[in-house]
Amino acid sequence: MFDLSTAQMEIQLVAIVVAVACALVGVFLVLRQMAMMSDAITHSILPGIVVAFFIVQDLSSPFLIIGAAATGVLTVSLVELLERTRLVREDAAIGIVFPALFSIGVILIARFARGIHLDLDVVLLGEIAFVPFNRTEIFGIDLGPTALVMMSVILLINLIFILLFYKELKLATFDTGLAAALGFSPALIHYGLMSLVSVTAVGAFDAVGAILVVALIVGPPAIAYLLTDQLRLMLVYSAGIGVVVAVLGYWMARMLDASIAGSMASMVGIIFVVAYLLAPQRGLVASYLRRRRQRWEFAGIMLAIHLFNHEGLPSAEQENRVEHLQDHLNWNPDFADRAVRWAERNRIIVRRNSHLFLTEEGREQAREAIVR
C-alpha cells in the first residue's frame, strides 16, 4: 500500500502545499474573527474567474488568478462598505454580498460558458485526483503539475509576507487603534492580508474546490488555537495540522474509495473533535481532571481553615472531630471521609483517635488562604 506512484506522490504534495498555504493565512483570519469572510471570498471569486476567463480565453492563465483575487478583495470591500452604513452587521453584510456575487458567477457560467471545464461540481469540490494530468513545462522541462507549481509559489508568497510583516500583522490584529496611532496603516495590512487570502483561495479552489478551501482556512487555525496560546506556535501548529489533514485525508479517501477533498474536510472535523477533547490546557478532558483535582484541594483548604479558626480555643475539642464536619462544613459523611483522607495524604492534617489536627504545613496553607 505504501508503494506510491509518482501521481500519488504528486497529489499528496499538492494537498500538503494547499493545506499549509491556507492554514497560514487562516490564523490571522480566525484571530480577527473573520472566519466567515473566507467563506464569502471563496464563493464570490467565481464571477471573477469567469470574467477573467472570457477575457483571456485560457483556463490555465495566471490572469485567472489575478481576476479572481481582485473579486475577493472586492468582496471584502463591499462587505465593509455595507457594514459601515451601520444598517446591517458584518455577518448579514457577508450574507448579502456573497450569494449575490456567487449567483452572478453561476449565471455567467450557465449562460455563456456551458460545455467548458468550468462546471459546478468542480467549483464546489475541485478535483485533486486529476491534478497530475495538467503539467507545467518550461523549455521542455517538466516542472510538475501546474497546481503544484502554482500553489508552491502562493505558499512562498504567504510565508514571505507573514515572516516580513509578522510584527505588523500581530499589532494590527491585536490592537488596530495602536497600530494606526503608531503609523502602521491597519487598512493597508488588512487589504494585504485579504489579497493573500483571495489569491490563496483561488489557487486552492482549482485543486480542492470551494468547500475544502474554507475548511482548510478555518479548521487548522481553530485547532491550533486550542493547543497553544502563543501566536508563533499557533502558526507552526496550524501549518503542521494542515500537513496532517492532507496526508491522513488522502489515505482515508484511498481506503474508503471516497472523494479526496471530502475526506480532507472530514479529517479537519475529526482532528478538531480530538483536539477539543484532548488539548492539554483547554481540552474537555484536561479541564475535567483539573476541576476534579481542584475540588479536593478546595475541600482540603476549607478543612484547614476550619481547624485553624478553632485551634487553641476551648471549642477545638468539639470542632475538630470527624463526625462534626458534617454539621459545620455541610459535608455528607462520605465526602467528609474522603476529604479528610485526601488532606491526610497531602499532610495538611493528622488524625489522632478521631480528632483532627493541623500539621505545620496545613497551618501555613490556612494562613495563606485567609490573608489572600
Binding site: E168, K170, L171, D175, G177, A180, G183
Partner: protein, 267 residues
C-alpha cells in the same frame, strides 16, 4: 503648583485643538471645539457618557477624521509628532484572548520606533521589563494576557505606553476598573511623568478625585464647557453645565478643591 502652571501657559501648548468638529453619520459628537493643553500639565477630560471624550482622544491621534478643524501636537500635525505621543486605549478595545503574553504586548509600544519590518530585540525586551517593573508587574512578564485581571490589564497598557518614551501621553480611562491601591500607584506614576516635564491627558470618570489627581481639566459635553486650571474652572457651575442637574453630590468637593488637595497631601 501655581508657578509651574503659569510657566506652562507661556510656552507653546503641547496640544492645540482648533475648531474641531467630528461627526459619525452626520450627527456631530464634537462640536466646534477649541482646546489648548499647556505643556507639562496632568489634565483630566471629564464629561458624561457619550460626551465625545474618546472621540476627542481619537481625533488627536488621527484615528477619526474630523469634519472640520485641526489638531496640533507639539506644534505639528499628529503625523509628524507621532513618535512623541504615547497612547493608552480603553481597556475593552482589544481582545484579551489574543494568543500572546504580557512582555510581548508591552514591547508593542516600541514598534513605532522600530518602524516597518524590523523586529524587537534585546533592547526592546529590557525596556519592556523596566516598564513592567515601574507598574509593579515585573513578575507577570511571561503571563498569558488572557489570565490577567482588569487592573493588571490596565497596568500592562500603561507599561506599553511608558516604553514609547513619549512627551505627550493620551490615556482613555486609565483608572477604569482598578482597585484603590492600583489607582494610587498609577497616579503616582502619572505625577512622575509630569515632573519629568511630560504632558499627560486622561479621560477620567471619578469626579471626586479630579482635584487630587489633576492640575488641569477640560469639561466636555459635545461642546467644550470649560478648560483651565482645576482651581479655576472645576466648580459646581461648570459641572452642572456639563452634566445637567445631576451632580448635587459633588458640591462639597467641587466647591473646595484646595481643601481636598491638602487632605490628600497629609497622608
Amino acid at each position: 503648583m501655581t508657578t509651574m502652571t503659569s510657566a506652562a501657559l507661556e510656552s507653546q501648548p503641547a496640544i492645540a485643538v482648533r475648531d474641531l468638529t467630528v461627526a459619525y453619520n452626520d450627527r456631530p459628537v464634537i462640536w466646534d471645539l477649541d482646546l489648548d493643553v499647556p505643556a507639562g500639565v496632568l489634565m483630566a477630560i471629564v464629561g458624561p457618557n457619550g460626551a465625545g471624550k474618546t472621540t476627542l482622544i481619537k481625533a488627536m491621534l488621527d484615528l477619526v477624521r474630523p469634519a472640520a478643524g485641526q489638531v496640533e501636537i507639539l506644534g505639528q500635525p499628529y503625523r509628524k509628532s507621532r513618535d512623541r505621543v504615547g497612547y493608552v486605549p480603553q481597556r475593552g478595545s482589544v481582545d484579551w484572548d489574543f494568543p500572546t503574553n504580557v512582555l510581548d504586548v508591552v514591547q508593542m509600544g516600541r514598534y513605532g520606533a522600530l518602524g516597518w519590518i524590523r523586529r524587537p530585540g534585546n533592547r526592546e525586551r529590557e525596556l519592556a521589563l523596566e516598564a513592567l517593573d515601574k507598574v509593579s508587574m515585573g513578575e507577570f512578564a511571561d503571563r498569558q494576557i488572557s489570565q490577567l485581571s482588569g487592573g493588571q490589564q490596565q497596568r500592562v497598557f500603561l507599561a506599553r505606553a511608558l516604553v514609547q518614551n513619549a512627551d505627550v501621553y493620551l490615556m482613555d480611562e486609565p483608572f477604569q476598573g482598578v482597585d484603590a491601591t492600583t489607582e494610587r500607584a498609577i497616579i503616582t506614576l502619572l505625577k512622575e511623568l509630569r515632573s519629568e516635564g511630560k504632558t499627560v491627558v486622561c479621560v477620567h470618570h471619578d469626579l471626586q478625585t479630579v482635584p487630587d489627581y489633576f492640575d488641569w481639566v477640560a469639561l466636555l459635553n459635545i461642546r467644550k464647557i470649560a478648560s483651565g486650571p482645576v482651581s479655576e474652572v472645576y466648580n459646581e457651575t461648570n459641572l452642572r453645565l456639563t452634566y445637567g442637574g445631576r451632580v448635587a453630590f459633588l458640591s462639597r468637593d467641587a466647591a473646595a478643591p484646595a481643601t481636598a488637595q491638602a487632605a490628600v497631601e497629609e497622608d
